[in-house]
Symmetry: C3
Subunit: 133 residues, 3 copies
């Protein structure tokens, strides 16, 4: 298993982690397989979406905030229930196919670490399972 460290800077922030995950895949030596990228936190998630226009990520954060406002009359005393459900909506992990020794993406895709209650020091765990040859 591999571990990445991430320092987020905003309360809600999407961070492209392609390069770090690609380095792990290269180190593994696996040519064909699946890369599982897992967030060991409950107020952050992982998603895959467009990397070309930064407005896409800005709109995604806006839409999530409209659907799950930070202030919502929630019971949880810590006050960050919105972050918990956003984390589950994006998901605690994503799976990316490894093909020819590299993360195999569509043209516009990147992996985003989704911070929903930052800034914080965060971790990402990566595990690689080989495919049938």
């Amino acid at each position: 298993m591999y571990e990445l460290s991430i320092q987020t800077r905003d309360h809600c922030q999407f961070i492209n982690i392609d390069r770090d995950v690609q380095q792990i895949v290269a180190k593994s030596g696996v040519n064909e397989g699946v890369c599982t990228i897992f967030v060991p936190h409950t107020t952050a998630g992982i998603t895959i979406n467009e990397n070309a226009d930064p407005d896409v990520v800005r709109d995604m954060k806006l839409i999530l905030e409209r659907n799950v406002p930070w202030e919502g009359g929630y019971a949880h005393a810590e006050g960050n229930s919105a972050a918990h459900i956003k984390a589950s909506m994006m998901g605690p992990s994503q799976q990316v196919i490894i093909h020819n020794g590299r993360l195999h993406f569509g043209t516009w895709q990147s992996i985003y670490f989704c911070e929903f209650d930052g800034p914080r020091a965060r971790k990402v765990w990566v595990q690689i399972t080989p495919a049938v040859s």
Copy 2:
């Protein structure tokens, strides 16, 4: 493949299944890998979120119900379309990394079976894929 049986008691209920899944991982003898936890139902899902304060799960259910009210002028005659979309929003499966022979979680994380149209008798399927050594 391994199978768990779960009896839900409420219409909408999140049930911590860590212990059952951990037992399966131990039985498998796999030290490094990925554990896929899959729900073979269309009105229930799986998520990973906080296990410390039960108010987090309560708020998550509240927020999902606000976004997807049970009564919504839906077409599906069975009347449970809200449960179907909530299941897809949380997801039919989750992947947890196995490290040193155990499910590898963050401090506050647990696996939750999410019942959205109970009470019912449910199943959970588990498959374990080994990582590169």
Copy 3:
């Protein structure tokens, strides 16, 4: 790795791809494992839900549109931010267990390719990772 081609016909459309994925699983010769179905696009996703009553899928599209309206005062110039977030809400991939050489589903489950900004020519990638025997 395996690739499927899909031509969508509507702006928002859920297409059952069970048969195509099952053929890939059969060709792989894997008896026990996990099948990862991945969409290399950022305005389409994958989900698993009911295949019996087509009204379920109709209601799911309706509920997603209510939560994420196409017109929303978004920044992204291309105008399809709603499609991007819907793609992340359903997810860019799903994992289905392979058991006894076949996709192992619940009675009512099917895999749906979710088009959120069609019609377009799309791809789906499939990778198969074997389980411990």
